[in-house]
């Protein structure tokens, strides 16, 4: 079957890049799980990319999306895009998506302890929160001239939303056929 070849991996990578974009562009009230929460669903896509595609392909999918955003396509939540994002306060969080997807995929495949949903949840927390914030907070502190604790204070508002997203990843992944989980192989 084609989806097991290199072409299959390549297409899935492109598809997940598009999925992250689509998650950010869908009107919020359309999403059954994020109504009223002041966050975008895009990090959900980043966690999914790592957990489903694995470390390497997940990170490549996210890199591809970020590259297209840098080229000027308005594919981030709220129709944002272009080089301005990278100089803005959230630039580090955006670049943090790359190690985030990688770490989520790595954790998913290398620590096969416990049930699939539990592993997906832990991997999403490690990649989608720890790795992303590890890059995002220092960047915010740097470009905004804030101290690290002050920058962390700004970022902490988004943690509850990200934890909800990790739970959603766990629920979604538990319902996927095992054959679709590359990181779990």
């Amino acid at each position: 079957m084609a989806s097991n070849t290199d072409t299959g991996d390549f297409v899935r990578m492109c598809l997940f890049a598009a999925l992250i974009a689509a998650l950010g562009l869908l009107p919020k009230f359309d999403l059954p799980f994020l109504a009223g929460v002041p966050v975008t669903a895009q990090t959900l896509g980043v966690m999914l990319a790592g957990v489903v595609l694995g470390a390497r392909n997940g990170a490549l999918a996210v890199s591809l999306l970020i590259f297209i955003v840098a080229l000027g396509m308005p594919l981030l939540a709220g129709g944002r895009g272009g080089l301005g994002i990278f100089f803005g306060p959230s630039g580090g969080f955006l670049l943090g998506w790359i190690p985030g997807a990688w770490l989520a995929g790595f954790a998913m495949s290398r620590f096969p302890v416990g049930s699939v949903p539990l592993r997906a949840f832990t991997a999403s927390i490690a990649g989608g929160i720890c790795a992303v914030y590890a890059l995002g907070i220092p960047w915010l502190a740097f470009v905004a001239g804030l101290s690290l604790p002050a920058a962390a204070l700004v970022a902490v508002v988004f943690v509850p939303g990200d934890v909800i997203k990790a739970i959603i990843v766990a629920v979604l992944v538990s319902a996927l056929p095992v054959s679709q989980l590359q990181a779990g192989r």
């Binding site: 990578m13 890049a17 598009a18 689509a22 799980f33 590259f67 297209i68 308005p74």
Partner: protein
């Protein structure tokens, strides 16, 4: 920040993409080490003049920057609290200035020119099995996939709404994800049937054999 290509072309469109990018990163590096808020305010004034020189349409884009206001205000307050008004003004003005400068490049450079300017930078990645010439195909696929995914989602949603007035459950997202993965299989088969990706795939296979 709010991207979008500016049409009709202006004088800034005629400057090569790579030169614009080099200038942007040069100016950004210099601005990062400045501390005096007056430099940034002067810079902002200059950039606004450049926007004005590009025409009314470009000036109208500046209004889109107001979505940044809450965040800039928060940064200003935090900075003011820890380091005083001068530092707070410098931080907020620097951020705004850098975003406006980067937007200038995005507004005046067609995507293809940007792609051509950046693709050679990926050559060093070839040793990790990432082919620079595959990037253009990947970009085209992603841009095509986004509306397709919207369509898949809308179909699932309409099917749900036709049957009940209750809010869509998470199950719907799961089905959407399965649709998505299924579609990737079909697209891969279509690409292989047309041998669009053939050379790239053969390259990958030989590289794997070499290892």
């Amino acid at each position: 920040m709010i991207a979008g290509y500016l049409y009709p072309p202006t004088w800034l469109h005629r400057i090569p993409a790579r030169l614009k990018l080099l200038i942007l990163f040069g100016v950004a590096t210099v601005l990062l080490v400045q501390q005096d808020w007056r430099i940034f305010v002067a810079g902002l004034a200059i950039v606004v003049v450049v926007y004005a020189a590009l025409g009314r349409q470009a000036l109208a884009r500046l209004a889109l920057l107001r979505t940044l206001t809450p965040l800039l205000a928060l940064i200003y307050v935090l900075q003011w609290y820890t380091a005083g008004h001068a530092a707070a003004a410098a931080s907020a003005a620097r951020l705004l200035l850098m975003i406006m400068l980067a937007d200038l490049v995005t507004m005046t450079t067609p995507m293809q020119a940007m792609l051509d300017a950046i693709t050679p930078l990926f050559r060093p990645l070839e040793r990790f099995g990432i082919r620079a010439d595959k990037i253009a195909l990947a970009v085209a696929l992603v841009i095509r996939f986004v509306p397709l995914l919207f369509d898949l989602w809308r179909r699932r949603q309409e099917a749900w709404r036709a049957r009940t007035v209750r809010r869509a459950p998470l199950q719907l997202v799961r089905l959407f994800l399965l649709d998505t993965l299924q579609m990737s299989g079909h697209v891969a088969e279509a690409l292989e049937a047309r041998r669009i990706d053939r050379q790239a795939v053969q390259g990958d296979v030989t590289r794997q054999q070499e290892r």
